[in-house]
Amino acid sequence: MNAIEFIISGMLAAATPFLLAALGELVAERSGVLNLGVEGMMAFGAALAFIIVYNGGGHILAFLVAGIGGVLLSLLFAFVALGLRANQVATGLAIGILGLGLSAFFGKPYESYTIKGISKISIPVLSDIPVIGGLFSQDIVVWLAILTSAGLWYALTRMKAGLLLRAVGENPKAVNSLGYSVFALRIGAVAFGGLMAGIAGAYASTVYTPLWADGMIAGRGWIAVALVVFGTWMVGRVFLGACLFGAVSLAGIAAQTAGLSIPSQILTSLPYLVTIVVLGIISSNKRLLKLNGIASLGETYK
């Protein structure tokens, strides 16, 4: 397998943890709530999932519990930031730290244990194409993540629930005067964000790198938050941003194995740099930012 095939076949799986977390955060932010606790919710989900798989609970249960763990943390966030109307940034940071702490605490006995990942599903014919064939041989979660992206795009642009979500992010007062509950909508959106972050963490610890190490999420939650903002809250762009990030991180690994004499620190920081530069350039379009930006983002309602 040459470097290009390596990147093409692995790109989607590398992108999936970012993608899942970013889609969740996108929904939360579309409703006007900035939850910066993504990193912690991911870490918490990752620890829960790893423990369950290690103890023989299986991947399905692991993803389920990780999702619930993410939801619980996000509801705690919602209770403080929406219910008690505390500052969203500060609350999100605190929840993030709590999640990291919980993951370290529960994960401690499992340090550097490994488990078995899940097998890949290949699309017949397509996966036999030379060079790009690897793209069509992915595990089930990757396929589901792609479907979720498409579904979310459809919901946000074509369905009433999606329109309502965008509406509450733009003008919560008006949504209230139309007779909808701003709190119910926002709590729902925040919980969805927690669910996706938990699942993203589960994927990272039980499928992508099926081994436990404290701090294994390694900033992926933060990149997810950045992807949402630089992707101007559009599903397609967030998807592309996540793939770009995945591809560049694999390129770094490929370069290392090829024995290029570039310091590994530079190679590991490359995906962060490239993603931020590329998305930064795309999102410098003021018109798009204004049209897709969320007017009430981070503001405390009432």
């Binding site: 329109l163 509406a167 733009e170 139309l178 007779g179 003021k286 897709n292």
Partner: protein, 503 residues
């Protein structure tokens, strides 16, 4: 007598110490166009919020079609058949018209699109269902709001100051729509402080003054003067005449100013030229959103032109195109911004500290240190001379009513003894008494030889104040008209020329 559609009995609502409504009785008959008349702060909006279920009353009862009801939320109000068009629209700018409608009205996109077109034809509310709301004019947005309410088939439609955002010709269209609705059995509650309008369209009027009902009349039986007296509780303040002034020096000149905005929600200015001389008030008319804020930013110096655009803005004979706001003020320029809370004053700071914002040049600061006693003296003078009702100079600016804060800000700027004063929306959201006082001050200042530029949406105000009027429409400025030689209708025509409202 038939059962009223809606009755209020003894309804009261207080916010802390403020009694917004006290024992209000109101009867709205079926098919009526019923006005709620009152000044800003008289309690009209609170009353409507109680009816629409946004707030609940402390005391009193609400009857709907003769039955006692508790309206706990807007969705309950809508279920009963009450629709409301807010003064500040509850539309979502990033969604299309039909998407906005679909949030409230069930149905597929196709059905809703057809229905919007059908309603548009039936009631004279033309609007493109597929365009994004941010690209619509204010008049069109209001139509969307009304259509959205009508689709729920309401029995009562509440309109909160619907004409305050419309040019005169659009007002006629709106009235035509309302009359058609009333004929079809929809009652309308029409909130306004504009007396002529109420006389022309409403069949009943309930007058509110500081939260109390002070009259229930048939507005056509009274002239505007009598109605005004009921509304403010005393005679209208007198106006002072503008005295003829010799032709003075040019204090402000804009020469073919063009400024393209990157922001898609902002209006670009095209080829704007104007001049203001000593002892003259120039009024800029136009519906807001036609480039007023952009023009204000350029004149005040909040936005500075690039060096390549020299000689576009000249003040006191000096090219100021590239100078910032502070440098322009040093030349004798003073500015009252549109936004009182946040731009004209800092709401969290005391009046004295707010004086320092622009009056520091009057010796209130020495070698970087604040001279507090001087600042307090300045503030006290301003409070006294401009009749600002406040506990004292230490009161927070945000605690003052709109009218009083505006009097303070205008006073502060006039006390700087400017050569050129620019006032953006001098009396927006200010009650009649304070408005009259502010206008009087501006004319006095003009009579002393100051050059004054006023941007306002209120045509009557510009006719009272200005020597000349120009109209801003879609970022372009009309030629200059002498106020004494022109009628409000002519101005109205320029306000909407080439805009959709003519069609």
């Amino acid at each position: 007598m038939t059962t009223p559609l809606l009755s209020l009995r003894g309804v009261s609502k207080s916010y802390g110490q403020v009694h917004a409504n006290t024992a209000v009785d109101l009867d709205v008959a079926p098919n009526a166009i019923h006005a709620i008349l009152g000044e800003n702060g008289a309690g009209k909006s609170t009353l409507m919020k109680l009816i629409y279920g946004v707030e609940s009353p402390d005391e009193g009862e609400i009857f709907w079609q003769g039955e006692k009801r508790r309206i706990a939320s807007p969705s309950e109000a809508r279920k009963l058949g009450i629709g409301m068009v807010f003064q500040h629209f509850s539309l979502f700018e990033t969604l299309t018209v039909v998407e906005n409608v679909s949030l409230v009205v069930p149905g597929t996109k196709k059905e809703l699109t057809d229905k919007i077109i059908q309603f548009g034809e039936e009631f004279g509310l033309k609007v493109d269902p597929l365009s994004h709301v941010h690209s619509l004019s204010v008049g069109e947005r209001q139509r969307v709001e009304i259509i959205r309410c009508l689709m729920a088939d309401p029995k009562l439609l509440i309109l909160d100051e619907p004409t305050s955002v419309l040019p005169p010709q659009s007002v006629e269209l709106l009235f035509e729509t309302l009359r058609r609705l009333a004929e079809r059995g929809v009652s309308i509650l029409f909130i306004s402080h504009k007396l002529e309008e109420i006389r022309s369209i409403c069949t009943h009027a309930t007058i509110l003054r500081s939260g109390h009902v002070t009259g229930n009349v048939s507005p056509r039986d009274f002239d505007t003067h009598e109605l005004a007296k009921m509304m403010i509780g005393r005679d209208m303040p007198e106006t002072i005449p503008a005295k003829p002034m010799p032709r003075g020096l040019k204090q402000l000149e804009l020469a073919n100013l063009t400024h393209i905005m990157e922001d898609p929600f902002a209006v670009s200015l095209h080829d704007v030229s104007l001049q203001v001389r000593e002892g003259e008030i120039l009024g800029i008319a136009g519906v807001s959103g036609n480039g007023q804020s952009e023009l204000a930013e350029l004149i005040s110096g909040e936005t500075v032109l690039p060096p390549s655009e020299g000689e576009r803005i000249v003040m006191m004979g000096q090219d100021v195109s590239t100078l910032n706001a502070a440098a322009r003020r040093k030349l004798g320029f003073a500015f009252v911004p549109e936004d009182r809370l946040g731009q004209g004053a800092v709401p969290e700071l005391s009046l004295t500290k707010n004086s320092l914002l622009t009056a520091h040049s009057k010796g209130l600061i020495k070698r970087g240190m604040v001279n507090l006693s001087k600042a307090t003296r300045f503030t006290n003078e301003c409070i006294e001379a401009y009749d600002v009702r406040t506990p004292g100079p230490e009161a927070e600016a945000g605690a003052l009513s709109g009218g009083n804060l505006q009097k303070f800000i205008v006073g502060r700027e006039i006390m700087l003894e400017p050569k050129l004063l620019f006032v953006n929306q001098p009396t927006w959201g200010v009650d009649i008494g304070a408005s009259a006082a502010i206008r009087k001050r501006l004319i006095e200042l003009r009579n002393q030889g100051c050059a004054i530029l006023v941007i306002s949406e209120e045509i009557e105000e510009l006719f009272e104040l200005s020597d000349h009027i120009q109209v801003l429409n879609q970022g372009r400025l009309s030629p200059r008209f002498k106020t004494s030689e022109i009628q409000p209708e002519d101005i109205g025509r320029h306000m909407i020329s080439s805009a959709e409202d003519v069609a």
